[in-house]
Every structure is written in C-alpha cells, then in structure tokens.
C-alpha cells in the first residue's frame, strides 16, 4: 500500500485581489505519476506555485511527505524533496550550463541512485556540448533540457514538470516521455502538466482536470480514455 506523498485539500490562492484557485484538491501517492490537465488559464501553474510556496495559498492544507507545508518558505518545501521544472524554463541566464547544473546539485544522501552531471549529459548530450555556454545563449529547446536536468540534479522525491515538453523537437519530446516512463519505472513520483493527452494517458496513472481553479474530474487513464466527452468538455479535444 503506497503512502501519500502529496496531498492538497481545499486550496485557495489569489494574485493580489483576483482569486485563481477556489478550493482545489489533489493527491499524489508515492511512486505514482499524476497528470494535471485543464485549458489555458485554469490554474495549473498556480497550483504548482502554491505547492512550492511561491505564491502562498490563502486557505486549505498542503501536505508533503507527511508535513504541513502551506506557509513554509519555498526553499524549505523544495528541500523536503520537490524538484520543479517551471513554466517558461527559468534557467539562470548568467550561469553556464555546467554551473546551472552544479548550482542545483544536492540531496545526494537521500537518494539511492543519485543523479550526476554525467547522467544528465547522457540523457541530453546537447547539454554536454554546450557546457561552457552562458544559459542566456541557449536555444529555447536547449534551455528546456537544462531546466529538466537541473530539476533532476536535486534528486527529488517528487518531480514536477510544468509544460516541460513545450518547444522541444518531436524526437526529443519522445525521449522525454521515454525518460519519464523510465523514471516512473524506478519508482519516481511525478506530477506533470502537459497538453499532450495521448502521451499522458499512455504513461500517467491518474489524472486531474481542473476548471476555473477547481478539480472537476479525477480518474485513471482508462477512465479518461473511456470518456471522450470529458476530454471534449474540459480540454477542448
């Protein structure tokens, strides 16, 4: 019986005066891969920001690895073992590729088979080639690879990917999906946001669909595929 790694309940989050999340709930079990879906602007990224403590939630509970993390500063949450590939990459432009990876390295002791620069290079050979380039000079896709590599370098218990395949070439995109299933095979818990429903339903265990800041549906991949109407209604497919 898998333990609950992340549990969110009734979270409400605002940007200034405008409320974006209205009592959102979701759960990620240990070793599970969960997808978060919804149309543009429905609050997916905001959910992630609330989990990470980047935009503090106003109400509700967020528990990670058994600890209440709402209103903790974001570095403490990250230290508990969350690795984030943020929307829009957000690599450090004034550091080299190599330094971007080194800066993120940590949490070695907790992981059984920790990520190293060599392993990242094996995953994305392009990053090895560009090792001494400043982050700012990378192409869009290269930046995306770097962002993923950087998140892995923290050896997270839970990996969160917010549109991590955006802007990647099809071949690389395939590789990332393969990599995710490989990670899942190793028991890595993943929370993923992506627009490619086909791929998601292939490898994710469960899905949440959110609409205007609320969870409107949750179920397994089979259930999702079985209900094309649902996809049409909430995802516009």
């Amino acid at each position: 019986m898998a333990e609950t790694l992340l549990e969110i309940d009734g979270v409400e989050t605002c940007y200034g005066l405008s409320q974006v999340l209205f009592g959102l709930s979701l759960k990620v079990q240990s070793g599970e891969m969960v997808a978060l879906m919804g149309r543009n602007g429905m609050g997916k990224t905001t959910t992630i920001r609330s989990i990470m403590g980047m935009t503090g939630a106003r109400a509700g509970t967020i528990r990670f690895a058994g600890e209440q993390v709402r209103s903790l500063p974001s570095y403490k949450i990250a230290k508990l073992g969350i690795g984030l590939v943020p929307e829009g990459r957000q690599i450090f432009p004034n550091l080299t590729v190599y330094e971007n990876l080194v800066a993120a390295s940590g949490n070695r002791q907790g992981a059984s088979d920790p990520w190293t620069i060599e392993k990242i290079h094996a995953l994305f050979p392009r990053l090895a080639e560009r090792g001494n380039n400043m982050g700012v000079t990378l192409s869009g896709g290269e930046q995306q690879m770097l962002a993923i590599g950087r998140a892995l370098m923290t050896n997270p218990k839970l990996l969160i990917l917010d549109e991590a395949t955006e802007g990647l070439a099809p071949l690389i995109r395939e590789e990332i999906w393969n990599c995710l299933s490989m990670l899942k095979g190793r028991g890595q818990s993943v929370l993923v946001i992506d627009k490619n429903v086909a791929n998601l339903s292939r490898i994710a265990d469960r899905h949440y669909i959110i609409e205007r800041g609320r969870t409107v549906w949750t179920g397994t991949s089979e259930q999702l595929i079985a209900e094309p109407d649902l996809q049409h209604r909430y995802l516009g497919i």
Binding site: F92, A104, M134, T154
Partner: protein
C-alpha cells in the same frame, strides 16, 4: 625613472584601496542587484569602529579585527531589519532608502562620536619607510594595503567564480524565486553576502583611516569613485572592478603627477597650472564616459565574464 616607479606605486596603492571599497559594492550591487548608497556609510562605520576599538584595546591589530567583526554584524543587522525587503524592488527605491540611511548614519555618528572626527594612529612598526628598489622608499603601511587588497581580490574571485556558493549567489541575482525552488535559503545567503559586502566596506574604511581621516561623510566622495570603478569594470565583475580600480588609481595619480608638466610643454606655465587640475578632476569622469560610450556595459560585462 625612480619618480615614475614611485608614482606608479602610489597609483597602484590608491587603486587597490579603491578596489577594497568597490569590491563590496560590486558584490552587493552586481550580484544581488541592490544599489547600496549606504556602502559609504559602512565604510565610515568601519573607520569609526577601528579608531574606537584601537583606542580601547590599545592594540592596532586587535582593534582592527574587532572593527571588522562589528561592521559585519552591522551589515547583517541592517540587511535583516530593513534592506532585505528591498531586493527585487526598483533601483530607485533602493537609492532612496539607502540615501535615507546615509543621512541617518551621518547624524548618528555625530551624536555618538561628536562632529569633530577621530584619528587612528599607526603602530610604529607600520610607519617606517621600506626600501623596495634601491633609492625608492615606500611607506610600510601603504605596502601593507597593497598586500591586503591583493589577497582580498584573490579570495573573492575564487569564492564567487569557482565555488558552488558563488554560483548560487550569482544565480540568485538573476532569479530569486527559482533558487528558492531548488531548496536554497536565498534570504540567508543574501544576508551573508550583504554582511560580507559590509565587512569589505568596513575593511576599506579602516585601512584608509590612518592615511586619510575618520570623519563624518568620509564615505560619500569616495563612494562615487567606487561607483565609477564598478561601472567601468562592468557591474558584478570582481575582475572588472579589480582592473578598473587599478586603472582609475593609476590614471588619477599619474594624471596629477605628469599632466601639469605635459601641459606646460604646450601651454604657458600659468595656463597649465590652472588647466591641469581642472582637467585631472575630469579625467576619471571622462574616462568613464568614454568607456561607456564605447562599451555600454563596461569593460567586463558580467554576463559574458
């Protein structure tokens, strides 16, 4: 020739002194993107602390170490109480707030130590002139400034460019939120960096104190010079600040030393002696303007290193 050697040493020493001040400034400004006008006040506090502690303990070295610690603590306290809330804000907000701190520190010092200033006498072992090449004697204390500044420069360069802490600091400058998401306590890191910057300012102040004076407002004119240096060098670049500081020190000293004679070859003596100081006062600003017109991001733009 010997004159040239001696004047070059003067220039080098003055430049390195400026580097001590500029290093802290470029660290805080370039790396944390925080414009700290009160850096000059910390420099002043370093000098006041040193003069006070040296008098108390009757030991130059002990007093100076205590002063260094005191400015470090002061910097940390300042950052903790007020300045950390200003990271990521508009530069102007920072200018305004730290301008307020200048006002405050000047008057606080006046209240505590009185308006008259203090003096920091050198121990006798530092006052003897040292013969460096035959025929050229150089004050021992000025030599010691050269040594300390070079050591600080090397240490800073290594820490910022070669260690993970340095990478984190630089990364935090460009994206605070993301560095937090990597599990690093950026607030603490920045507090320490600010403290380090303050200690460097204090070090500059207390090293200068025996040569110059311990006076209210002593940090203000020299702060402008320090800004000029970090801008010429490229903001955030320790190497840039180092080279620019030596450059400015040399230009300033050699300009004053040789410009009048140079001008006298083309102008009448009277005209030269009035034109030369006017020109040499502008020299540094002229230099900065030229550098910026040719290289708008300074000599060593930080992003490209």
């Amino acid at each position: 020739m010997l004159v040239l050697v001696e004047q070059s040493l003067n220039g080098l020493q003055f430049g390195l002194l400026l580097f001590l001040l500029a290093a802290g400034l470029t660290l805080v400004f370039g790396i944390m993107d925080f414009v700290n006008l009160a850096h000059g006040s910390l420099y002043m506090m370093g000098a006041y602390f040193a003069a006070t502690f040296v008098a108390w303990t009757n030991s130059f070295v002990l007093g100076i170490l205590m002063a260094l610690g005191a400015t470090l603590l002061l910097g940390i306290a300042l950052e903790f109480i007020a300045l950390r809330h200003l990271y990521g804000r508009d530069h102007l907000d920072q200018v305004l707030a730290t301008f307020g701190l200048i006002l405050f520190f000047n008057d606080a010092v006046r209240l505590i130590w009185g308006p008259a200033g203090l003096s920091l006498p050198l121990p006798s072992w530092l006052t003897v002139p040292v013969q460096i090449v035959p025929g050229v004697f150089y004050p021992a204390y000025r030599l010691s400034i050269i040594v300390v500044a070079l050591a600080v420069a090397a240490m800073l360069y290594l820490v910022v460019m070669r260690t993970r802490i340095g990478m984190l600091i630089r990364a935090g400058a460009s994206n605070r939120e993301m560095i937090g998401a990597l599990g690093i306590n950026i607030k603490l890191l920045f507090t320490l960096v600010f403290g380090l910057g303050a200690a460097l300012a204090g070090l500059a102040g207390l090293m200068q104190a025996p040569i110059l004076t311990v006076q209210i407002g002593m940090g203000e004119n020299i702060l402008i010079l320090a800004f000029v240096i970090i801008v010429i060098g490229g903001i955030g670049s320790i190497r840039g600040a180092f080279l620019a500081a030596i450059f400015v020190g040399m230009i300033d000293t050699l300009g004053r030393a040789f410009l009048p004679d140079l001008l006298r070859t083309v102008l009448s003596s009277a005209a030269a002696s009035t034109a030369a100081p006017a020109l040499s006062s502008m020299l540094i600003y002229l230099l900065m303007a030229i550098v910026l017109v040719v290289r708008p991001e300074g000599l060593f733009p930080a992003a490209k290193r």
